[in-house]
Symmetry: C2
Subunit: 465 residues, 2 copies
């Protein structure tokens, strides 16, 4: 072993495989790859391999296996759970997919698109739009996040209600296995029941079972009409009644049904000077519907009118232009930033069965008031798919891990998930192991051993071997 | 071993586990479980275990493992690939899930439903309808097929274009593993990225990796308006242009886009006396769209009117009532029956990238004309999702396996699938092994070994160990 903790000729062999510009070893060059953007998971990369082809990825993985060196696959490095950040040992190599960024093909009739793992999500969206179609996965980090990371984390975002998570939009996958073998399943087929659908294993497993190098994604038709509205509601029960009524009257034209608490609006006003178009109310709903049919506005107006008549909504406003719609969305999107200005917060990305949301909120608020007095819940999230960002504003005296456990205990009581969309990474490894049933963890271990017997793919993420 | 080829006390121990009515051993009682409904795969069950609970399933699997006896899970036994039929050895035990048929819960707001594996698909649909929602998986066998088999085969059907395959409608799963362990993942969550999504492995793996005992299914809002139309088109290229235009104008309101050849209409007329509402044409399209919005009819009329003006369609008719819509659908649904009256046919359930459909049809027709003169292609299927039933009417002089290979060779040239929705079962095992890349087959073998090391779960299906 050299001073780096790596076998002596490892880096020169890696350099030879990757060619000019393919390997970073300088500490300053490597530093940004070693720490996540929230700076919660400081690590250090021994080197950064930047392959430009699937063949190079396979060679790098093969060499690392031979040398017993661990690899951490990395895309845009925008994750919230430290899933793409190396540990602090300085002995892990980051495998950046950033140079593999081509959009290889777009098929507007078959509604498919083939892209490489390092393609930025926004670039994939733009390629779909240029062909008159929509790639509907959309989330805050889409300007930096890459398709490989989106798939490895099964990213969610604002359109899950209508279009599902990333998983439901992946038709084909090319993967490099832990032994350096390449499995090419880049089929552009909407239906394919020929044998095990092995690609499902790699979606959402955060680079611990294999490395995604390219994918065939599913596109959808672009809705011709979009309606966006903000509604003031007295409580989460009323929000739930509006959701149920909207499912009857608007069906699956509903694209987003976001719940935003008064606390979040207070933060928006204080730190971003955004007051919102409605007088203060305990809760708001941001609803968006889309359709190819021109009757959308009338149907949304009727649905919201009935909610006002019933008293489930106390006030409401429609976006009358794209700019107004963007303004309403910016309220939703700037909450996290304002939360950061406020000070320290303990974040949760949980989901519960949708009808249980009001009871969950009540129980979590009560648990916090009792177990962590002085904290303030700042709740917002994708109510329509059961996913709440139940964040907690805390002072220096509060213990983040204790608050995590307290909130997750309540999630468990409602048979929910402690990671609805952000994944496990290194952040939630212990919480997951503590809470998932032993049979599920044993099954996960079995899959990990079968696909990465030497434990060299993103070790320490999702589960400890 | 006894005369049955089973260990001497095996059946009495099995009987003890299952209680009264739980075990069939009489040859006449077992016979129907031993052969598929098309009578293509004659087998013989040593016994039929009919557990009434997940605990009993686990006990049966545990006992079989201890005794080294193979198990063949079976639901409604309606599959087309022999996936649920035992072999002819008389040493395999059929595990029928039919007694586990409860609908445990329906949640119309959260849009979920928990059902047991033996629940008939139609009963699950009815439970959703009673709650004002839709369970959208729909296929010919739904009156007998069971939820467990639907999941084990990742069933497709007529609504895939809008709602996806079964996989996209499974939120949670309970599975009994090969070692008799139970993994309970019956979470009613729309979003859950907490750890590996292991349930995906069991969906579509045809009972070879584990036994599905219960599931949480996703429901969708019921469309308020449905429009069904039949269009006469000159050729598949014109059909493709209509599909592309409909994606622009009707978006994802399109639920079905079926292609039916003149040959199929001829069979319908000859053997069912059904003439259809349009004069004969080379091809027809059966289009169905659904929406919550009242403007659907106008939009569909405009789209089809433009197709007529462009000459992509030469004639067309709308269903003006539910009865008329059912009449149009019965044309589509009775093709298989009329094909059987005609005589012997060699069936294919293939998919290709959608824009390649016209070229695929031309190439397959040419290959047949050259390689199997005297045969007649009878083509119909789900054009909107790329899945064609490219069936071939043959005489006694033709070799079915050779025709399979001939058609599948053409599928391979278009990077398609030799089993779009029916699965592999025992029918396509060798064709799959011949055609899939060795890396994919090796990965499948690795998963099989990891989850069923003794090879006792549905041996010989999907892949040979």
């Amino acid at each position: 072993m050299s001073a780096t903790g790596l076998p002596p000729d490892f880096l020169s062999r890696l350099d030879g495989l990757l060619g000019p510009g393919g390997l970073l070893t300088d500490e300053a060059d490597c530093a940004p790859y070693g720490i996540d953007w929230r700076r919660l998971f400081p690590g250090r990369a021994a080197a950064v391999a930047r392959p430009s082809s699937t063949g190079q990825v396979a060679s790098v993985v093969g060499l690392c296996r031979e040398a017993g060196v661990a690899l951490v696959p990395q895309g845009g490095h925008t994750g919230l759970a430290g899933g793409a950040t190396p540990d602090a040992s300085g002995r892990q190599v980051v495998l950046s997919l950033a140079r593999m960024n081509a959009v290889r093909a777009v098929d507007p009739v078959g509604l498919t698109m083939e892209v490489e793992a390092g393609c930025v999500v926004q670039a994939a969206q733009a390629a779909a739009e240029a062909a008159g179609r929509l790639f509907p996965v959309s989330y805050g980090a889409e300007g930096s996040a890459m398709v490989g990371g989106m798939i490895a984390t099964n990213a969610g975002g604002i359109n899950v209600l209508r279009y599902g998570m990333t998983r439901s939009l992946v038709l084909g996958l090319e993967v490099v296995l832990a032994d350096g073998g390449v499995v090419d399943g880049l089929r552009a087929l909407r239906k394919d029941n020929a044998g095990y659908d092995w690609k499902q294993l790699f979606i959402g497993s955060e680079g611990t079972l294999g490395i995604v190098t390219a994918a065939v994604l599913r596109l959808v038709p672009r809705p011709r009409y979009t309606e966006t509205a903000l509604l003031a509601v007295p409580d989460p029960e009323a929000a739930l009644r509006i959701l149920a009524a909207a499912q009857d009257s608007l069906g699956d034209t509903i694209q987003a049904f976001e719940l935003i608490s008064r606390c979040a609006f207070d933060l928006l006003e204080r730190y971003a000077g955004l007051s919102g178009p409605l007088p203060p109310s305990p809760w708001c709903i941001l609803l968006e519907a889309g359709s190819s049919l021109s009757g959308l506005r009338d149907a949304v107006e009727a649905t919201l009118g009935e909610a006002l008549e019933r008293g489930d909504a106390v006030d409401g406003v429609f976006a009358e232009s794209k700019a107004q719609a963007a303004g309403l969305w910016s309220l939703r999107e700037r909450i996290t930033e304002c939360e950061a200005h406020q000070g320290k917060s303990v974040k949760h990305d949980v989901s519960v069965p949708i009808p249980a949301i009001p009871a969950f909120l009540e129980a979590a608020d009560r648990a916090l008031a009792e177990g962590a007095p002085g904290t303030v819940p700042n709740v917002f999230g994708h109510m329509g798919d059961g996913n709440l960002h139940y964040n907690v504003l805390v002072g220096p005296e509060h213990d983040s891990a204790a608050i995590n456990r307290l909130v997750h205990d309540v999630v468990d009581r409602f048979a929910g998930s402690i990671s609805a969309e952000h994944g496990i990474g290194q952040y939630r490894v212990d919480e997951l192991a503590r809470r998932r049933r032993p049979e599920e963890m044993a099954l996960a271990q079995r899959l990990k051993r079968a696909l990465d017997p030497d434990g060299l793919l993103n070790p320490g993420k999702v589960l400890r071997v």
